[in-house]
Symmetry: C2
Subunit: 730 residues, 2 copies
Amino acid sequence: MTSFQDISPDVAPALLPAYRELLPATAEEAAANPSAESLDLAAERARSWLPVEELTAILEGGEDKVAAKQAARKILEDSGLAALKAGLPKYYVPRAEAVANAHARQAALLEAAEGAGLDVTDPKVLYALREHVHDELPTDLQWVMFSPNIGVLFDEEQVAKWKPAADSYAILGAYAQTELGHGSNVRGLQTTATYDPETDEFVIETPDLAALKWWPGTLGKTANYAVVYARLLLNGTDHGIHNFLVPLRDRETHELLPGVYTGDIGPKLGYNMQDNGWAVFNKVRIPRENMAMKYARVTREGEYEPARGASRKLLYSSMLGVRAFIVASSGTELSAAVTIALRYSAVRRQGFKDGSDSDEYAVIEYPLQQFRLFPLLAASYVFKFMGATIHELHEELLTAIEDNSSLAVLPDLHATSSGLKAVCSTIKAAGIEECRLACGGHGYLRASGFPDLYTHGVHHNTVEGDNYMITGQTTKYLLKVFTAAATAGSPDKAREVLDSLSARFQYLGEALALAADKPSPRASAATTSEWRRPETLETAFGHRAAFKLASLASQLRKAVASDGVSQAEAWRVALIEVNQVAWAHSMFVLVQNYFARVAELKTDAAVASILRDLGALFALHQMETHIGDWLEDGYVSAEQAGLVRGAVRELLVELRPHTIRLVDAFDHSDEKLGSVLGRFDGDVYRALFVASSYSTLNKDEPSKVWKATLKDMMDAGARRVGPGMLASSL
Amino acid sequence: MTSFQDISPDVAPALLPAYRELLPATAEEAAANPSAESLDLAAERARSWLPVEELTAILEGGEDKVAAKQAARKILEDSGLAALKAGLPKYYVPRAEAVANAHARQAALLEAAEGAGLDVTDPKVLYALREHVHDELPTDLQWVMFSPNIGVLFDEEQVAKWKPAADSYAILGAYAQTELGHGSNVRGLQTTATYDPETDEFVIETPDLAALKWWPGTLGKTANYAVVYARLLLNGTDHGIHNFLVPLRDRETHELLPGVYTGDIGPKLGYNMQDNGWAVFNKVRIPRENMAMKYARVTREGEYEPARGASRKLLYSSMLGVRAFIVASSGTELSAAVTIALRYSAVRRQGFKDGSDSDEYAVIEYPLQQFRLFPLLAASYVFKFMGATIHELHEELLTAIEDNSSLAVLPDLHATSSGLKAVCSTIKAAGIEECRLACGGHGYLRASGFPDLYTHGVHHNTVEGDNYMITGQTTKYLLKVFTAAATAGSPDKAREVLDSLSARFQYLGEALALAADKPSPRASAATTSEWRRPETLETAFGHRAAFKLASLASQLRKAVASDGVSQAEAWRVALIEVNQVAWAHSMFVLVQNYFARVAELKTDAAVASILRDLGALFALHQMETHIGDWLEDGYVSAEQAGLVRGAVRELLVELRPHTIRLVDAFDHSDEKLGSVLGRFDGDVYRALFVASSYSTLNKDEPSKVWKATLKDMMDAGARRVGPGMLASSL
């Protein structure tokens, strides 16, 4: 409960009476006088029987996971470190200050962990704690990219030498790949590393402006080491891109080393606590031993030696790990926005009820508001279930790599995670913004939490494979398997190809049939309840994916055969459809996976039924939005399209009583959520008012700007009106 | 051309060598050595014959308008006032400083205008100049809302007394309507104004926290007057919401007056140079004469007297003016984003060409990039043409009000502008973000211009009627006219109703036929070129609008007749479809209006043909995206849906050579655009690097954060690794 006690210590004294007049004086007084909004939210919780804790355990993957999460949260709380409580002020400080605060938060996180006797050099330990801190932290990339990449790119001896220092934060590192004029096409990078046999050193050089390293996180001001991507030049021969560990700054003084220049690239839409940086290397010399030697080495004489036996699969595994993380975090981030939007919608009142001029509807009562928000609530559940599966697949891969056993899961995981990365992060970002817009003006305030959720979260659309480019990887695999089955020689052999694949790819059988001009099937569902069945929806999404894949295969074949263009050119021209195939596939995977996991749950039939309703809402809302995909080939009739819409409307009504408990189950703490509108206690208006006290503009009253500018401007205006008129009228 | 001369004077000296090494030293040297990117953009311009200046004149509404625009731009340039050159640094300063700079910019704007001998109290004069200043200015609402509303709400005597002071910036005003717990439902506001006959004053009072004034622009720190919405209480009787001019701050000291408290509500997603504010009124006394007296007055004795003969139509006209402005500015803002994205796409290279390992495609060569951006280029043209029509309608209304002639245009303008406000601003905001995302990482930087375009532009989705609520006004009118025609009694009388309406509503004839169960028509276009014809597209969009309207009418009738709910309840339950009807109508209006205006142009047939292609791309891309709307009732067959897609692909190819000249025609100056990526000269990489010098993090090197936090954190890490290991390995 918010009270006068919570207002900023820096607010101008002239404004204090207003806060004092409208707010309860103390937390106790606030608790004794709950706001109307708090009572509304309590009433919402009372109207549903859903077991919130059980749902949380389902979402987190078990009660032990929940317990571990709570234990981690408690360690941070018990540490009592002030830097860990970001609270409201975080939205109000200038960037340089915000960066400093975020660094202090990272340091406090390590301190709290060590204080609790934990091994902070274990990334899993660190991540468990880090999950409870709201802000992005400037050194997150230390354990997300820098340290793992040392582990992956460097040989055993090098790993033993450097990884412990990275894991323990003795050195801080950047992962310096992209350049100002060169992005995700790694082969296009231009920074050079030339071997000098006289001194047994590499000379790192930025040849021109476009080769300037640009974007790597922490590169600007924080990192004192970087893994640098550069072209290896040996005796005039270009051996392509290799990696080099380059010291940037003096360990004792943090001053830039000779020939190294780094700076911050400037403020961004979001993620501003991170000093994404640039770097210029002006003939910077590093020992030969600083080249990453796992996949190739350079001898003392300057000979190039590809390493024998080193498997590049580990390289993939680290990239796939990040994609798996993005899928899972899409569910988490979207669920945060949905939590804020639905709690606020339950307490915000707008529009008189029929016949009344004082009783207003809570905005959650409007079907249009439900239509905007409930499908996103459903998507959060669907994405979280998908994240769990991708995580399991990734673990399976890591185990297989460790055991040197079959890596059969690799192509499936690669194809599945690429498309899902694009689909989940795209829907997440747009969904967060939709949640914000559904909260009217107040959603536009930083203190609502939405702006930072969006401006930070949307960077996933671009990084780790742009969402429009990465989908090509999924479609490439689908075509490969499709072609293998289509050219297998016999139905049995085609069946064999399909049988070797997971449930995610079984619809390819239908794609083969369609390609062989078999008649297109028709949906049989004839009532809204038939449309809501998992089997109906899985079949419908499989059909769309099959239809689009078969069409693309035919389009590409025709381009090469009839139009005589190259395979590469046919692909480039078809990129619009390539993207759509990956989307259709990923949507099928989301639907198939969700219902499969729900079916496996050991839970009450009533709870499982609600969970199925969420999945049905997600799928049917997608169908309503893209109904043309199913109408075009007659899979769905006009009557059935009407039933799809009718089923969506039905589900909005049926899920309505459970919405607040369904978001409570996401278990976002107020501290992590960082939103005055999404508070668990519903005390939104008091919190909004208190938050305003932190505005930097409220530190002086009247403002200094008046003296600097406004006074002269108004005086000039007064001269325009004429002194007589002004005196008489005002 | 960007050079070393342009870097920030505040950048740390330690970083200067890097900038010096990679940038031309002077503007002359830069011009003599144009970057590869500049040459790319010049080549783009060389490959099209389109007459850019003529297109600009078409978009601006005539050569005289272009000349006036250029003259206004020149006045600001010639003033030599430093505050008018916001340049790059504007993205880099903390909020309080940005607010101060923006106020100085407003003051300089007035100074430049007065220096040029212009009448700054004429809003049109001011607007013509203001158009050339990139930033939002904190006192924009002075002439957008405060002064116009004095003109509209107050009587002649009051207007004579106060409006000149407002127009001349002798007083600064806020328009204080919304409250913390009460938004667009004006009748729900709770601030009170109680008449005290003893002193002949009103007592303005904030009764509780939810009634706190919250959001009004400039209310926090800038305004010294406010038009306050409050419930008028006379002798215990509530006479509903009225308006009151309330002095907030002392004219000489800018100190808050007794009982008045105002503050800034805090930082937002965007628009942060504006001090949107809160206000508490604690028994604030104002003279009775400060009530807005145009529509009702209170006598000395406290009697309530509605004014006789005062037309409330003017109230509408001011609101409609803002909606017209939002439609027009949607085209302008979207065109700015499209300009940045397409110029950058023409110079950004990514992905090797088939068979090469050095020659990369410009990203504009990818069909997927074209598919994302060209329809938004087309939408910019369509919205600008729509803005011109809405502006003309609004002028027509103002003339009619002035002449006391028929206001027949009012309901049409009201219905048309409500839906278009929602549609154009929604597509604009999403379109700006799509442009940004299509520019990869660099689009995420503030210096790209995109973040501010979006975070500011998207506020139009919420203000002046939330985009999901305002569409109801359009649909209400459509149903009213539809019902009038349907119940006119005879086909001739129905025809009479339709004949009284503009071309925007003629498709209602088809809606009537559909409602009377006449068979649904079928599209006849059988080739891509037939699909590209204006008549084909206008008919198709009219059909969709008619179909949706007839369906909604039937849905509402059924709810009331069969389900027995009230009209109001039937409406609330149907809000999803109500919104869709307004969208279908507005899309028809956009298509119909665009082709009608293009047909009227006196221009080369070849230019007109390109303009028609843009309209066709806009319409066909919309059809492709929402093809289910046309497939469902069989208006379009599966084969025709394929042709629609084929026509879109054709248009992408045909428009490709003209894209840069088509964006040049929007005539955005570099200063106004405020984007390193969208520069006219294409010199993007040099500009990006120079911009980074303004980052506040680059003022100290090494950063103070290192000493404050990082050093200890790394030392603690070093202790974890053990001193021996650290010394030996690094």
